[in-house]
């Protein structure tokens, strides 16, 4: 089968700016490396050899294109037609491999000999460790010790693949702190190391680079909807932590003004600071990890603690393009809490025989809640599978 490897390749935003958001707020030591990365990515995305190598890996190694699936029983339950973009079927079980494969090919092009990454749920760390094994590059993954506890299976998998998993004990011992530690490692080893950031966050060019590599989700899904559903979706829904699966999905539909774009953030246990991860819905503008975007912070500008039952959404920041889409009104952002995500985890398992990642369960929950008032079709990005979450879900008790 011919697979052209469909990325939506746009020029990088001038100055790395998304309206008032984005930018490059990092220590001077890595500034030249960011310039090099932006230049290299621009050249690579115009190089047919690079693109065909990536496309071949996406097809033969990762399993692209991933299907869209009309979830009949879920649709009946939701009262509207729901389609799922099956990124859970991608190799390693989540959309993260789209980004890791592309960045690893770039790292090799730049002659980097060592890879570092951060991970929350472990899916990005797993994807990076996988791509490193594939290309024979040493890999260090920084992971908060709290997340290592929550995602022990992914830790074991990364180690099986030859990666070293470094426990991060600072701060909240979750994704935020793992990201800070990965950046510190990169600052120290920048000459021979590439930092594979896992979401559409961070200093320019990362938000643009990750979005471009994840745009394969939206570009495929748009064409598949036209072919299989016979129309564009009325609504596209994706969960938003840092926002990489969402921005990749939205990228395919931004120029279709009739398609409503909905990002779903983690409502956690409540609306009080520290109880959720809803940076866009409940945060304010600020700078974290190299970019100006929406941020959960206190009145002194200190970054706030967060909570979500899903490690991948347990992050106080969000990608700058989402901040711009929210400000412009092109996309809207909603909240689903822990309980809703857990219920939906069980619901999709029972109705469709698909165990979703807790992150993705947030997005599906939105479709279930809004189905009765939505003519549809609703297209949901099922960003990953839920094996990694079994311990968390079982610990939460039997389905309601």
């Amino acid at each position: 089968m011919n697979y052209p490897g469909r990325l939506l390749i746009t020029p990088p935003p001038p100055g790395g700016r998304y309206g008032a958001f984005g930018g490059t707020y990092v220590p001077e030591t890595v500034m030249p490396a960011l310039v090099e990365l932006a230049d290299e990515a621009r050249v690579a995305f115009a190089d047919s050899e690079f693109l065909s190598e990536l496309a071949e890996l996406q097809r033969d190694y990762a399993g692209r294109p991933t299907p869209i699936y009309r979830a009949a029983r879920l649709s009946a339950h939701a009262g509207t037609e729901v389609w799922l973009k099956r990124e859970d079927l991608l190799h390693t079980g989540a959309h993260k491999l789209n980004n890791a494969l592309g960045q690893l090919l770039l790292a090799r092009r730049m002659g980097k000999r060592r890879i570092v990454a951060e991970t929350g749920a472990g899916q990005h760390g797993l994807a990076t460790a996988t791509a490193c094994a594939l290309l024979g590059l040493p890999c260090v993954v920084f992971m908060g010790s709290e997340d290592m506890r929550r995602q022990a299976v992914n830790v074991a998998k990364m180690e099986l693949l030859g990666a070293r998993v470094e426990a991060v004990e600072s701060g909240s011992r979750t994704l935020k702190d793992a990201t800070s530690e990965a950046i510190r490692d990169w600052v120290t080893n920048v000459r021979d190391t590439h930092y594979v950031i896992g979401s559409a966050v961070g200093p320019h060019p990362y938000p643009w680079l990750v979005r471009t590599l994840q745009s394969v989700i939206g570009v495929e899904a748009r064409q598949q909807m036209l072919e299989q559903a016979g129309s564009l979706p009325a609504v596209v829904v994706a969960c938003v932590g840092g926002g990489s699966n969402a921005i990749g999905m939205f990228a395919g539909f931004l120029d279709d003004p009739m398609v409503r774009l909905v990002g779903v953030e983690a409502g956690g246990r409540g609306r009080a600071q520290g109880e959720h991860g809803a940076s866009l819905s409940l945060g304010s503008p600020g700078v974290l990890h190299g970019a100006n975007s929406f941020l959960l912070q206190d009145e002194d500008g200190q970054v706030a603690a967060t909570h979500s039952i899903s490690a991948g959404l347990d992050y106080p920041g969000v990608g700058p393009e989402h901040a711009m889409l929210r400000e412009s009104g092109r996309a809207e952002y909603a909240i689903v809490d822990d309980v809703g995500a857990l219920e939906t985890f069980h619901l999709l398992s029972e109705l469709e025989g698909i165990i979703p990642a807790l992150e993705s369960a947030h997005a599906i929950r939105w479709a279930v809640e809004h189905g009765p008032s939505e003519p549809g079709p609703i297209l949901v990005c099922l960003s990953g599978r839920g094996d990694k979450d079994l311990d968390t879900v079982l610990a939460a008790g039997p389905p309601p």
């Binding site: 930018g23 990092v26 500034m31 600052v187 920048v190 000459r191 974290l288 912070q297 200190q302």
Partner: protein, 264 residues
């Protein structure tokens, strides 16, 4: 009404025209080891012979800092340190007789949260002389630069061993104080600050700009400082002093002794 400081460039002037030995610049963390230690430690550093002092205002996610300064910042925050309180403590130190120029080192987000203008005004009114923000690169500096200038604050810029020559020139042009040279690729408290990377960066910088050069990150020993004579105008020592202050029964005495020993 805003009070305009009489000596807007004393951060630069105090480091210029020194002798052969580099000035020692102690770095202290506001609210560390105890919340109320700041004023006493600043005065101790001055009494021990420091001609300029750097005061860190803690931030939850300090990307340029190693474990020692991270942990000190976390503790200061847990003890209740804030941007406002740190600036109040600077004003207290001035009222208690602190004379030497003081440069605040912090990160962009707490400054943005207060507002660039309000921060610059409060800092200047409190007796701060200059600013150093390691996560604010040249590309993003214009707005803070004009706020700082309006209130007579010296905005210092940073260069690293990875910084190309033309960027060093730009950093020197943007700086209204000193040029902070990062001794090696890495974070504060790195094991081997100095060495060939530092020498090479200082030599390159000296050939490109006449403004004072301060070297920092990983400097811990008097011998390292002496070896930088003729290369650097100032040397910043941070992590070591925080360790010393934390381990001592009387942090002010310990800072006095440690700074005296390094500056001798």
């Amino acid at each position: 009404m805003t009070e305009v400081r009489e000596l807007p460039n004393r951060v630069r002037s105090v480091l210029q025209g020194g002798g052969a030995a580099p000035h020692l610049v102690p770095y202290l963390m506001a609210g560390f080891p105890k919340l109320a230690d700041t004023v006493g430690l600043l005065l101790a550093a001055e009494a021990a012979g420091a001609t300029l002092v750097e005061l860190g205002i803690p931030y939850s996610d300090p990307l340029a800092d190693g474990p020692t300064i991270q942990a000190a910042g976390q503790r200061a925050l847990a003890q209740g340190m804030t941007v406002r309180l740190a600036l109040e403590q600077v004003a207290e130190a001035r009222a208690a007789g602190l004379q030497i120029p003081l440069v605040v080192m912090t990160y962009l987000n707490p400054v943005l949260r207060m507002g660039l203008m309000e921060f610059a005004e409060r800092a200047a009114r409190s007796g701060v002389d200059g600013l150093l923000l390691p996560d604010l690169p040249l590309e993003e500096m214009a707005e803070l630069s004009s706020s700082a200038a309006e209130f007579g604050l010296a905005l210092n810029t940073m260069v690293a061993p990875t910084t190309p020559d033309q960027r060093i020139v730009r950093a020197a042009q943007v700086s209204s104080g000193f040029l902070y040279c990062v001794s090696r690729t890495g974070v504060t408290g790195s094991k081997s600050g100095g060495g060939d990377e530092a020498t090479s960066l200082l030599t390159r910088s000296r050939a490109l700009t006449p403004i004072p050069l301060a070297l920092g990150f990983g400097v811990r020993r008097r011998q390292q400082i002496q070896e930088l004579a003729g290369l650097a105008d100032a040397v910043v020592v941070g992590s070591l002093l925080l360790e010393v202050a934390d381990a001592a029964p009387d942090p002010a005495v310990a800072i006095f002794e440690a700074v005296s020993a390094l500056a001798a």
